[in-house]
């Protein structure tokens, strides 16, 4: 299928420069350690809702946040290539449009995946219980969700053309409330009723809950099912919107 092979092709092109910049790799490895070192000591001192220890609760939420923020803004990277002719060059080839977008998204997600694995492994000695299979499923859902969000971000970048300010404004005014309403950093059970109800309308909430369940070792539960559904729907919608935007664009 050309979609798959073009996804790999696009990924291969984009990952090249990343692999060559050592500072990016060093920063990528250090970043999760920073989170753990600077935030977790505070966290473990806090009385958090839910059972199990704070890491089990906090790590999946933080991963959702990292994926959301990285992918929501990654359309920015496309802007440069939209202004020059290099994206257009690929559009004049038979390469699959969704493949081009998904390959780019995976390039943004691959470092996150590695960071997440480092985070999990390093957190284990500090009390994070490892449930390898559920956790890997959790990471896979995050990747699927991230592909969707990244595709929306590419669509936004194309729609806002060279207007970087517009892109920034829209992407942040969407992602920030999503994140705050998703109970990523603090448990929504502690929220006032109206806020709690609002959070039930936020798709991200279901993903966050599913990730937390998976990090507690659950797999076959409705919570995980809803989260998976959200991830897949976001991916399908994102790829569809991204592809249509590319096809209709008058760059």
């Amino acid at each position: 299928m050309t979609f798959i092979s073009d996804t790999f092709l696009s990924f291969r092109r984009e990952i090249g420069p990343t692999m060559r910049s050592w500072y990016y790799i060093v920063f990528g490895v250090v970043q999760p350690l920073l989170y753990l070192g600077l935030f977790v000591p505070l966290l473990t001192a806090m009385p958090m809702g839910g059972d199990g220890n704070a890491l089990q609760w906090f790590v999946p939420g933080m991963m959702v946040m990292l994926v959301l923020f990285t992918t929501v803004s990654c359309g920015w990277a496309l802007t440069e290539e939209l202004v020059s002719g290099s994206f257009e060059r690929f559009l004049a080839t038979p390469a699959s449009r969704p493949g081009l977008l998904v390959g780019r998204a995976l390039k943004e997600l691959a470092p996150l995946l590695i960071q997440a694995l480092i985070l999990i492994v390093v957190a284990a000695p500090f009390g994070l219980h490892l449930y390898p299979v559920p956790m890997l499923i959790g990471l896979a859902l995050l990747m699927i969700f991230g592909i969707g969000v990244a595709s929306f971000s590419y669509a936004l970048a194309i729609a806002s053309k060279n207007d970087g300010g517009l892109f920034y404004m829209v992407s942040h005014s969407v992602s920030l409330p999503l994140m705050l309403l998703g109970g990523v950093l603090l448990p929504m059970q502690m929220a006032p009723d109206w806020l709690y109800i609002a959070s039930r309308f936020n798709p991200l909430t279901y993903l966050v809950e599913a990730e937390r369940a998976l990090f507690m070792g659950e797999v076959f539960t409705p919570i995980v099912g809803y989260g998976a559904l959200v991830a897949v729907l976001v991916a399908i919608a994102g790829i569809a919107v991204g592809t249509v935007t590319v096809k209709r664009a008058s760059l």
Binding site: E80, S84, L91
Partner: protein
């Protein structure tokens, strides 16, 4: 190979709508090399981008390589190579990698792509740059890479949007040597836009002149020049009053126009000046006119454009 019917394209901008292309009709046969000539903003790039499926048309229809551009864009993309006006290489990517990826995107195998990349690096004198990031290349080097990217899969139909802009004379000559050789070997159809009048004149079998979104001329460079410009005969007389006699004589020459007596110098535009000149000089001699110097100037495509629009492409280029 390329057919367009009543193609239009308008853009909405903050200050109103721009009619970039207004009713373009064109037909290019298999193996032809056609040059699109016109001043800045004439609509050349917009036309090329519509024909290469990159930009939807506002109205009209086009087919490229036998496939409808709007209805079967995937099929069109399989047949074409496209070198856009803007830089096609990614700034942080390496020269050789970009070529190989381009080959893969054009459905070549990995080994074919590598081989072809090396060939083109050699041809376009880019070997020494193969492992550099593209943003470290000079403008002309980037442009050569753009052309190499377009040639990777040796397309049946090649669109070149100002391929030689920014190239030094050596690189330009080298580029055309290779493009012409590939064309001879493969029978590639080439559609190019250019501001270099001499390039259009010497390379293209047909020149299409575009202005304000419309095609205003379409013919071989020779016929365009003969019909729309003509040769200019210039004379310098020994004494002043004789230019008036020359004007009288010139009026009887076949197809004479733009008769311009001016002090002691005189000019007239005719078809095939080299053949007319001897007759003209003999006739003047018979009227007793003494001539100091005589010359025939062949027209350029700029004269063609000047006659078509009343403006010169050269002036435009300077003003822009």
């Amino acid at each position: 190979m390329i057919h367009g019917r009543d193609i239009t394209r308008t853009f909405k901008t903050k200050t109103g709508t721009v009619e970039a292309v207004r009713g373009l009709n064109l037909d290019v046969g298999e193996g032809e090399l056609v040059a699109f000539l016109g001043p800045n903003g004439a609509g050349k790039s917009t036309s090329v981008r519509m024909l290469t499926t990159l930009l939807p048309m506002t109205s009209g229809a086009a087919s490229v390589g036998g496939h409808d551009v709007t209805r079967a864009p995937e099929k069109v993309r399989r047949m074409i190579g496209y070198v856009g006006q803007k830089t096609g290489s990614g700034p942080y990517h390496r020269v050789r990698d970009e070529l190989i990826i381009q080959g893969r995107a054009q459905r070549m195998s990995e080994s074919e792509s590598r081989k072809r990349a090396n060939e083109l690096l050699g041809m376009l004198e880019l070997e020494d740059l193969a492992d550099r990031d593209c943003n470290s290349l000079s403008g002309g080097q980037k442009r050569r890479l753009d052309v190499a990217l377009g040639l990777m899969h040796t397309p049946k139909i090649l669109f070149l949007d100002e391929p030689s802009t920014g190239l030094d004379p050596h690189s330009r000559a080298n580029l055309w040597d290779h493009v012409m050789r590939i064309r001879r070997e493969t029978g590639m159809t080439i559609f190019l836009t250019t501001h270099y009048l001499d390039e259009a004149d010497t390379m293209a079998e047909r020149v299409m002149v575009m202005d304000h979104g419309k095609m205003i001329a379409d013919d071989t460079p020779e016929r365009l020049k003969a019909e729309l410009a003509g040769d200019t005969i210039r004379l310098a007389m020994v004494s002043e009053g004789e230019t008036l006699i020359a004007a009288e004589v010139a009026a009887n020459l076949p197809n004479a126009r733009d008769i311009a007596p001016n002090g002691r110098s005189f000019s007239v535009t005719v078809r095939d000046g080299a053949a007319v000149m001897p007759h003209f000089l003999r006739a003047l001699h018979e009227r007793g006119v003494d001539i100091a110097t005589a010359s025939v100037r062949q027209p350029t495509l700029d004269d063609v454009f000047l006659n078509l629009t009343g403006r010169s492409l050269r002036e435009n280029a300077i003003a822009a």
